[in-house]
Amino acid sequence: MKTIEDLKRMREQFQAENSLRQAGGIQVIVGMGTCGIAAGAREVMTSILDEIAKRKLQNVIVRQTGCIGMCEQEVLVDVVRPGEPRITYGKVTADDVSQIIGEHVVNGRIVEKLVVGKITD
């Protein structure tokens, strides 16, 4: 490291690695209640993580949530982009993940055919 610019570059790189400890960013929330797990939530979760890694996305936070009572629609996956409504996708399978990440998380285009709910704060 020889210049301040080197240091700044390094700072950004290291900050990205720890970004999930800061608030903010796009959230992808997987329903991991008993119903969700039975419907295959774990496989969906794994493929979400793979997809994010494949696309080298930063600033995306993957979280879990419990049963919200729509067990019939599991696996449920929510996507929350800052300042936008919380979109709930239903009956998500590992095969749908690439589309949800590619369309909604990256480009902000909601995948209408999978949507089962919308929550506006």
Binding site: I4, L20, R21, Q64, T65, G66
Partner: protein, 596 residues
């Protein structure tokens, strides 16, 4: 590359390590692997959070859930419930002592609410063994700013304007000290960091070194640039193995990245750091003794002047500051002296880290702005006295400081107001005492400490503290005489005026301050042969009240057969034979035995 979705921060400070953090970490690793989660969840070892009383501490991100007292056997539930399913494990959350409500989030704890964490900002939040974590928090930007945009004189001026004063005890203005060394003539100069934290009950420097070592290194490098030194020493007591290990790692990483070594940031400034392990002598916290110890000599103070700024390590101009002082430097350079000077009181700027120990609910580290009251520190942050007992006094400044009684709790805490009431800031150890502490016994404890640690070079300290200790011993044993108090006062004055170094000069302080606020306790010991707190065993008698049911348990437990009585009849203690061991009190199921 695998996407990491959660970070599990495990505190690996000395406190949490002692309460089992390493075992928790091993169990966590194993459990994550078993569940196939080890690739997507990262375990991060951090330094001390300061909330040592509730360790081992575990924080799970992105939620920021704060778990306390996590043990090995809790790990499977933590992994299954929180990390797999995303459900918070309620029973491991911290519960406020007053409201009994559980607090899921770190920043909502009453312990942290009144704190202003600047020096400790990174402690517990970054991995101290990874330089990238420090850089991500803005680390080494102050060094870059100083080296590429400021002259050494500007750096010194900035530190002067900030109003920062030495955090090691004396409170000497840091900028002025730097100025002396900068102006001193010499072909070689040194920067020395005093990490020989020796006061009983003080552990803030250790926690900073363990939790954020790069901050201290950066502060020292900035100092080196300001005064014209290319070499520095960290004098760390060998009893701090974890701090030493993390410092070594930090120095190696900084050298590898070119943040220490030759031509840093292309500025032509060279700076290297070495660690000197001290053998744990209290006197080596005194700057001239510390320098002698680095030179390989016996650690004994010498008279000043010449001050180290003129003739220090190996006779060269040397600037010596405490760990916390150096840790304050980067933020002063980054955010400016005006910002720093806006925090605190008129003559004491910035924050101070206090180590809370003794009879207090939240043992740990608290960083507060100067000028906050002692009451807020002890009751709001510290959570009050253990077991709901009554507060009696707090010892501040270790064996060189003094005690503050209840009526002084609202005093704003800064350097000058503490001196006025006979205590001192010291390095920031706070030992809290409740009504069961005898103040004569307390003075005896601290004097016994300084007496044992006296290096023996000057007579007032070597002989004077010994004689004073003999007097205190005889008072607590019930053999105090008329005139003992006056003799203690006279000796204290003489030692203060004639001892060679600061430690000797301040050694009588615990006696003087307890005499100032609790003189009646000394008098009760001497004239009435009574210990009001019931702590001095020689002056405490035991008796059995009418609550006695005659069960005989006390009689059986007495090791010297001093208790007599028939079953179902009230028992008696023969005070001549009683050795005051307290075994009977512990055994009595009816609380029928009293002390006093």
């Amino acid at each position: 590359m695998q996407h990491i979705r959660a970070h599990v921060l495990i505190c690996a400070g000395t406190g949490c390590t002692a309460s089992g953090a390493k075992r928790v970490e091993a169990a966590l690793q194993e459990e994550l692997a078993k569940k196939g989660l080890d690739k997507e969840i990262k375990i991060v070892e951090t330094g001390c959070h300061g909330f040592c009383e509730a360790g081992p501490l575990v924080i799970v991100y992105p939620e920021g859930t704060f778990y306390v007292r996590v043990q090995e056997e809790d790990v499977p539930e933590l992994v299954e419930s929180h990390l797999y399913k995303g459900r918070i494990v309620e029973r491991l959350l911290y519960k406020e002592p007053v409201t009994h409500e559980s607090v899921p989030n770190y920043n909502d704890l009453s312990f942290y609410k009144k704190q202003q964490r600047m020096v400790l900002a990174n402690c517990g939040h970054i991995n101290p063994e990874v330089i990238g974590d420090y850089i991500a928090s803005g680390g080494y930007e102050a060094l870059a700013k100083a080296l590429t945009g400021m002259s050494p004189t500007e750096v010194v001026a900035e530190v002067k304007k900030s109003g920062l004063r030495g955090r090691g005890g004396g409170g000497f203005p840091t900028g002025m000290k730097w100025g002396f060394t900068q102006n001193a003539v010499g072909d070689k100069k040194y920067v020395v960091c005093n990490a020989d934290e020796g006061d009983p009950g003080a552990f803030m420097d250790r926690s900073v070194l363990e939790g954020d070592p790069h901050r201290v290194i950066e502060g020292m490098a900035i100092c080196g640039y300001a005064i014209g030194a290319d070499e520095g020493y960290l004098y760390v007591r060998a009893e701090y193995p974890l701090a030493i290990k993390r410092l070594r790692i930090a120095i190696d990483q900084a050298e590898e990245m070119g943040l220490l070594g030759e031509n840093i940031f292309g500025s032509g400034f060279n700076f290297r750091l070495k660690i000197k392990e001290g053998a744990g002598a209290f006197v080596c916290g005194e700057e001239t003794a510390l320098l002698a110890s680095i030179e390989g000599k016996r650690g004994m103070p010498r008279p000043r002047p010449p001050f180290p700024a003129i003739s220090g390590l190996w006779g060269k101009p040397t600037n010596i500051n405490n760990v916390e002082t150096f840790a304050n430097i980067p933020q002063i350079i980054n955010k400016g002296s005006a910002w720093y000077a806006s925090i605190g009181t008129e003559k004491s700027k910035g924050t101070k880290v206090f180590a809370l120990t003794g009879r207090i609910n939240h043992t740990g580290l608290a960083e507060v702005p100067m000028g906050i009251s002692m009451r807020e520190i002890i009751f709001d942050i510290g959570g009050g006295i253990i077991g709901g007992k009554k507060f009696k006094a707090v010892q501040i400044g270790g064996p060189s400081g003094g005690c503050l009684p209840e009526q002084l709790l609202d005093l704003p805490v800064d350097y000058d107001s503490l001196i006025q009431v006979g205590a001192m800031m010291g390095s920031g150890g706070l030992v809290v005492m409740d009504e069961t502490t005898c103040m004569v016994d307390l003075a005896k404890f601290f004097l016994a400490f300084t007496q044992a640690e006296s290096c023996g070079k000057c007579t007032p300290c070597r002989e004077g503290t010994k004689r004073m200790l003999e007097i205190l011993n005889r008072i607590t044993e019930g053999n105090g005489k008329e005139g003992d108090i006056e003799l203690l006062e006279e000796m204290s004055r003489n030692i203060k005026n004639t001892a060679l170094c600061g430690l000797g000069q301040t050694a009588p302080n615990p006696v003087l301050s307890t005499l100032r606020y609790f003189r009646n306790e000394y008098e009760a010991h001497i004239t009435e042969k009574r210990c009001p707190a019931g702590a001095c065993s020689a002056l405490t008698g035991y008796s059995i009240t009418e609550l006695c049911k005659g069960c005989g348990l006390c009689k059986k437990s007495c090791p010297v057969e001093a208790i007599s009585g028939e079953i179902k009849g009230r028992h008696n203690i023969n005070s001549e034979a009683c050795i005051k061991c307290g075994a009977c009190i512990a055994k009595c199921p009816f609380k029928a035995i009293i002390k006093g």
